[in-house]
Symmetry: C2
């Protein structure tokens, strides 16, 4: 799996990392049980600091997307992804609201809005079967 870090972006590096790894899990590029690179390896590979990678891994661990085996490293949660519970739906709702507001303000039609939402969802299902991390 190819990970790209944009140092010019205003979204923090550790967020870019967690997002891309979550995407990898969602698309199936990262299989359950698969081991992620060690914090030191990935950090030196991306040219960033060990702690930045560690922060991303910790978030993924707290979110239930990976398990941490002390010496085997971080592995993708095998069997039992964290469910989309009420708390998650509420967070989703809270994040969607301002986006929808701006879309309405700009006169976007509901059809177009839903088309973009559907596209974002289906693109993850689409690109199944990938390479190695």
């Amino acid at each position: 799996m190819i990970i790209r870090i944009d140092l010019e972006s205003d979204t923090p590096i550790y967020n870019q990392l967690t997002n891309q790894i979550m995407e990898g899990i969602a698309t199936g590029e990262l299989k359950p049980g698969q081991a992620l690179p060690s914090v030191r390896a990935l950090a030196s590979d991306l040219g960033i600091n060990l702690h930045t990678v560690n922060k991303a891994y910790s978030i993924l661990k707290d979110s239930g997307f990976v398990q941490i085996h002390r010496q085997k490293g971080a592995v993708v949660q095998a069997g039992g992804m964290p469910p989309a519970d009420l708390a998650f739906e509420e967070r989703l709702e809270r994040e969607l609201r301002p986006m929808a507001a701006e879309a309405v303000g700009r006169g976007m039609t509901e059809e177009r809005w839903l088309a973009l939402c559907r596209q974002a969802f289906e693109q993850l299902h689409a690109r199944r079967e990938g390479g190695t991390i």
Copy 2:
């Protein structure tokens, strides 16, 4: 229009402000041509600093949602909301992707995902006709 600032939130105050004003415009609570409170008045009303409000207004101005009349204050853009152009759709897409990824990762169905997206959009249309700011 009632504006609520959460000082505990991790989203900056000026972002909370711009979001809520955009929502007000989207719902129609804030009518085109309507004047917003002066930066000083709103700041003292919310118990925050003048510059924080000013930053929010500047973002709204740069986004094309309000016009600034030097002494009349900031007024909601009358006639000609900024269109949902390609740049906006790309930004929307970029923001939707990580949210969709987490939803897929958590096993949310596409139906549920779209239902939440539709709900976020329609809630803005729903609460039309409001009070004064």
